[in-house]
C-alpha cells in the first residue's frame, strides 16, 4: 500500500530532484525554449517542500490539491498550469483517501495525465510532457493488468517515462514555445518531458522505502 508518508516523500524527492536538476532543465529549455524551465520547477517545488509539514494532517487527495494550488500560484509559464492541473485532477480523483492500492495509484496517474491533456491539448508526438507521461501511465497500468506487482509496475513506468523523454529528441515540437522553432526544435530533449520523468522517478524512489 502507498501511504501518506510515501506521498510526502514523493513530493520531497521531487523537490530535491528539481533543485539538483535546475540547471540541467534550464539548459534544455535554453536550446528550444526560453531558458526558465528548471527555474520554474525549482521555484514551485521549493515552495511545496516548505509546505510539507503543514500537509501532514491532510488526506492524500487534499495533499495533491494543495500541491496543485501551490504550483499554480508559484510556477507560472506553461508548466505551472500543466503540472498544477495534473496534481489537481489527481487530487480530485483521490479525494478522502489515506492510503492507495496499486490500482488506485494507476488511477491517480491516469487522472494526472488526463489533467495535463485537458489543459494543454497535446497528444503524443508533439514534444511535450505528454510524450513521457502517457507511456509511463500506460506502462504502469498495463504491467499491473498483466499481473505484475506494484514495484514492477512502477519500475516499468519509470523506464517508459525516461524512454518517452528521450524519444522527444528527434521530434519537431508542435505545442508550446519550442514549436516556434519548427525544424530547429529537432535534436533536443524536451524540458517538460524530462521534468515529468523526474517526478515519476521520485515517486518510485519514495515507494521503494
Amino acid at each position: 500500500m502507498v501511504t501518506k508518508k510515501h506521498i510526502l516523500q514523493w513530493l520531497e524527492n521531487t523537490a530535491n530532484a528539481m533543485e539538483d536538476n535546475r540547471q540541467y532543465l534550464t539548459k534544455l529549455d535554453t536550446a528550444i525554449g526560453d531558458a526558465d524551465h528548471g527555474n520554474n520547477m525549482h521555484r514551485g517545488f521549493k515552495k511545496v517542500k516548505e509546505q510539507l509539514p503543514a500537509f501532514k494532517g491532510k488526506d492524500i487527495g487534499a495533499i495533491l490539491k494543495a500541491v496543485a494550488m501551490t504550483l499554480i500560484s508559484t510556477v507560472g509559464g506553461a508548466s505551472g498550469p500543466l503540472y498544477g492541473t495534473m496534481f489537481m485532477h489527481a487530487g480530485n480523483k483521490m479525494a478522502g483517501k489515506e492510503e492507495l492500492t496499486p490500482k488506485e495509484m494507476g488511477e491517480l496517474l491516469a487522472a494526472g495525465l488526463e489533467g495535463v491533456k485537458m489543459r494543454g491539448k497535446a497528444s503524443v508526438g508533439e514534444k511535450t510532457i505528454v510524450d513521457a507521461l502517457e507511456p509511463a501511465v500506460e506502462a504502469y497500468n498495463q504491467s499491473l493488468g498483466n499481473g505484475s506487482d506494484f514495484q514492477q509496475a512502477m519500475n516499468r513506468a519509470v523506464a517508459a517515462c525516461e524512454k518517452g523523454a528521450e524519444e522527444t529528441i528527434p521530434m519537431i515540437a508542435k505545442k508550446g514555445r519550442a514549436s516556434y522553432l519548427g525544424e530547429r526544435s529537432k535534436g533536443h530533449q524536451d524540458p517538460g518531458a524530462t521534468s515529468v520523468s523526474f517526478i515519476i522517478k521520485s515517486l518510485n524512489d519514495a515507494c521503494l522505502n
Binding site: D34, A35, D36, N40, G76
Partner: protein, 357 residues
Amino acid sequence: MKKLINHPDNIIREQLEGMQLAHGDLIKVNYEPYYITRKEATPEGKVALVSGGGSGHEPMHGGFVGKGMLDAACPGEVFTSPTPDQMFEAAKAVDSGSGVLNIVKNYTGDVMNFEMAADMAMAEGIKVQNIIVDDDIAVKDSLYTAGRRGVGTTVLIEKICGGAAEDGYDLKKLSDLCKKVNRYGRSMGMALTSCITPANGSPSFEISDDEMEIGIGIHGEPGIERDKLKSVDEITEMMTNSILDDPAYHRVLKEWDAGKNQWVDVEVVDDPFKKGDQVIAFVNSMGGTPVSELYGVYRKMAHVLEKRGIKVVRNLIGPFITSLEMQGCSITLLKADDEILKYWDAPALTPALRKKM
C-alpha cells in the same frame, strides 16, 4: 552577467518597489501577489483593462498602467507567465462591475494561466473576456505550432483599447475592437545579441560577431533563422516586406462565449496588407539598441512602405516591448481605420506613454 541588480531572486520585487516610488502619483503596486493598478479606482461603468506577462519586457505592461491605457498589469517572473492568482486578484481589484478584458499574448503559458484566472473570476461573478494577441509573422503556420506569438501589436492594443474603454465601450464592444486591432496588426523582430536572464546569468543563445537572429521573439528564445549580419537597409527591407507579403493568416482562437457560458473555439482570419492601407508604424527596440539606430530602421521602412503604396499615418518609436538588454528591433504595422486612429490619439497618462495629458 552585467546588470544593475542585487540578487536575481529579488529583482521583480525591487523593481516594482522602484516603480511605486517613482510613479506613486499614477499607480499602486500590490506585492502579494504582484500586480499593478492605477492609483484611482476604476470609475463605475468603465470596463477594466488588464494585461500581464513575464517580466523583462519593460515598460510593457506595468509602464502602461494609467489613464487611457491599462487598469492593471500582472508581472510574472522574468520571461515566465504570471500566475492565475495574480490575475484573479488584479481583476477583483479593478472590476467596477462592468467587467474585465484580459489582453493575453499568445504563449501557451500566458493563455493557460489567463484562462484559469478567468474561470476563477467568473466563478466570483465577474464578467470577463480574454482576448489573444498573436501578431508575430515569424511564426508561419498555426496548425503545427502554438500559433503566432503576441508581440508589438500588444502595445498598440493597450493604447487603443485603453482609449475606447475610457470612452465607455462595454465589454462586448471593447472585445470586438481588441480583436480587430489584433487582426489588423503584424510584427517581426530580429536580434543582434542575446539577452541574459538574471536567474541564469548566461546568454540565452550563442551568436557570433558577424551573425544576427531573424524572427526572434521577446523571451530570448532563438529566432526562426540565423543569418550573416546585414546592413540596416537590408534587414529593414526584409522585415518590412515580410510583413507586407504575409498572406491571410488562419487560426483558431479560444474565447469565452457568455451566451453559451463556455469557452469556444473561433476561427479567425487576418487579411494581408494591401496598397492604399493606412498604418500605424511601430519601430521597437529590444532593449539594448539605442533610439538613434531605430531612426535608421524607420527611414528604410518608410521608403519601403512608400514604394508599396502604404501610408504611415502615426508612429511609435522606442523601447516599449523589450527583451531585457537584448540588442535588436522589431517592426509592427497596424492597419488603421477611423476607430483605431481615434483611440490611438486619445489622451493617456502612464509611466511609459503619454498623450495629451
